[in-house]
Symmetry: C2
Subunit: 104 residues, 2 copies
Amino acid sequence: MTSTLVPVFAALGDDTRWGILSALGEGDASASALADRMPVSRQAIAKHLAVLQEVGLVESHKVGREVRFRVVGSQLAATARHLDAVGAQWDRRLAALKRVAESL
Amino acid sequence: MTSTLVPVFAALGDDTRWGILSALGEGDASASALADRMPVSRQAIAKHLAVLQEVGLVESHKVGREVRFRVVGSQLAATARHLDAVGAQWDRRLAALKRVAESL
DNA sequence: CTCAAGTGCAACTTTTAAGTTGCATTTTCG
DNA sequence: CGAAAATGCAACTTAAAAGTTGCACTTGAG
């Protein structure tokens, strides 16, 4: 599970993809619709959507002749929980080291 | 604050940097010490440490003639909280849309 | 004091990601 | 049944990140 975590962060480390996620927050949309209100080409949007879908941050469904995308909020929440757990683990290690240091 | 969030994710979206963070979890270390147990050069490590420090994930302090780095767990926790909040917001939007759809 | 350990700076190559353009293909709406 | 809208695929160009090598500089351990 940790093995799939890094690509999720990589996907979230791009401004354009956050723009896409933000736009999708106002309702499902196709790549073409997103390209209309964003300063990059449709193909660029399509690539970003592929990246986001690859790591489970969005999912697609067909409506008529277009492919609409929606945000998978639960994946964000899961990633957040994972990150929080990692942070807590480090805090515990640091606290343990501190106790050892103080006991000397 | 949101403006500084994306670079944090970008910093976390790299396997080598996770290796560094993992190694630092076992205790503070210098760039040279990290390079000894990792398959990349010291300079590469130094660059990664600079990136991590830039976004507040590690901090440095001098010990003798070496510069040691430690993980800042609180930054991870803060990022996790932020991500969780974003995810929750999307969930609320999706739920609202669902209610609207069902009321039709 | 001295010299090796540790770090910092800079130029360079390689790799990968982002973005574009162009065209082919599908398909549903009218 | 067409024609326009939407998507998919492929080749290409930038642009940026990752990594390397080499050397100069600093400084603290012995």
